[in-house]
Amino acid sequence: MQPNDRTSQLPDSQRVVMTAVGLTSPNGNDLASYRDALLQGKSGVRNYNIRYVGDTFAGVCEFEATKYQSKRDIRRGTRAGTVGIWAASEAVARSGLDWANVDKSRVGIYIGVTEHGNVETENEIYNIKGFDYDTTYWSHHHNPRTVANNPAGEIALNMGITGPHYTIGAACAAGNAGIIQGVQMLRLGECDLAIAGGVSESIHTFGIFASFKSQGALASHADPTKASRPFDVDRNGIVVSEGACIFLLERLSDAKARSANIIAEIVSYAINTDATDFVLPNPERQAQCVKMALDRGGLDPNQIDIVSTHATGTNSGDAQEVQALRAVFGECTKVNFNNTKSFIGHTMGAAGALELAGNLPSFQDGVCHATINVDNLDETCAIPGLVLNQPKELGRVDYILNNSFGMLGINSVLIVRRF
């Protein structure tokens, strides 16, 4: 089938493709094992204890950090830096690039973060509490660890990249936003390779757990693997997780010139804003964002095979996203909806990128992974095409649409096509 989206009509120098991915997730440290866990229904959520909050749940990543960092650099940096270095290094290692001879001044790093600096600030306050709050005991490492560009900057330091690097603060839409920034910079010619995606170190700040708990939005359940349950009637909140997912993005012309393996083409995106509430989503704006991405790509909703939903397992948020999806896809018979947070919890800044990554193998295997932990579907979340508890064979998959929304009403949508 020839693609008939608007992007495919562009010159190759304006088309952007994904040529490698590196990741760490609570249920896998590379795309193959992560995908396998998603198809096997394997959760990455476990019991977790954090200062002041006590026993709770979290998605925790376990990977061999010293593969790419010295112990000294791990100690000096942040967890966001370490998960980012892992994912970026894994992506480059799988890219087929002769990295030693790549012009590092032409590599850009664009990393989405939900928040950054809370972990280190909490640690330092805890530390000086032991010294009667004498600030002369406050670490000189605090500033380089907490500047907002830290995760991207640590990747640059570790990999010797001298092109632009920065983070994109976009709440829980950040994973998509990092990728979108990479696409834009490639199209502008600001770089030749974009290391783009999102990271999360959020399980190491008690504040995020405490705040969700105070909001009545922190998940609880007898079984940690059942705690993250978007769309289920008994859902009761978010499981906080750490993770990272970073793509190597290139212009199609460059990828073709080096005969790169192309995972997918980014054919459209959109970001908009609710401007209605600090926390509560706005289904009308979400629907507008999805529609804008479809329209910009010259796509009809009927062309989308899989929608990776953002739903986090909160009472109102899940229903409101489905309300938005009904508004766009209500007449479609072909589209399928799934959710990755039901497996790994909410990986915050990494969520958009990780949730997209887990769906990309569908282009090869033709399977849509499920949304697990839906024992009783909430009618307010019901929508035809929701893939519940077991993966679904689709056959050919051409387009995947990835939702990622965040606080302060930021909405992001990314659409990718098989290549």
Binding site: R72, R75, T136, Y137, H140
Partner: protein
């Protein structure tokens, strides 16, 4: 603390600050920087750890005394002789 105990304490701090280094062959007479990968932030870590562990205050203009193990122990001995080793 005896000079030997102070030396052990500095080795313990160095092992924390520079966990990749093999400190078994450290030459006390040579500067740390000749033998290890240490930068100014690492030296500040040594100062901070001594302050945290033993309330030893090292003025900024005396940081130069921390160049080698021998000079560090000699500099710290009068400041730490009354501290009882843990």
């Amino acid at each position: 603390m005896t000079p030997a105990e102070i030396r052990d304490e500095i080795l313990d701090i160095l092992s924390e600050i520079a966990p990749d280094e093999d400190l078994s062959g450290l030459d006390d007479a040579k500067s740390f920087r000749e033998q290890m990968e240490l930068d100014s932030m690492d030296f500040l870590d040594i100062v901070m750890e001594l302050r945290k562990r033993h309330r030893v205050q090292i003025p900024e203009d005396e940081y130069g005394n921390l160049a080698s193990m021998a000079s560090t122990v000699a500099y710290l001995e009068p400041k730490m002789r009354d501290i009882v080793a843990a």
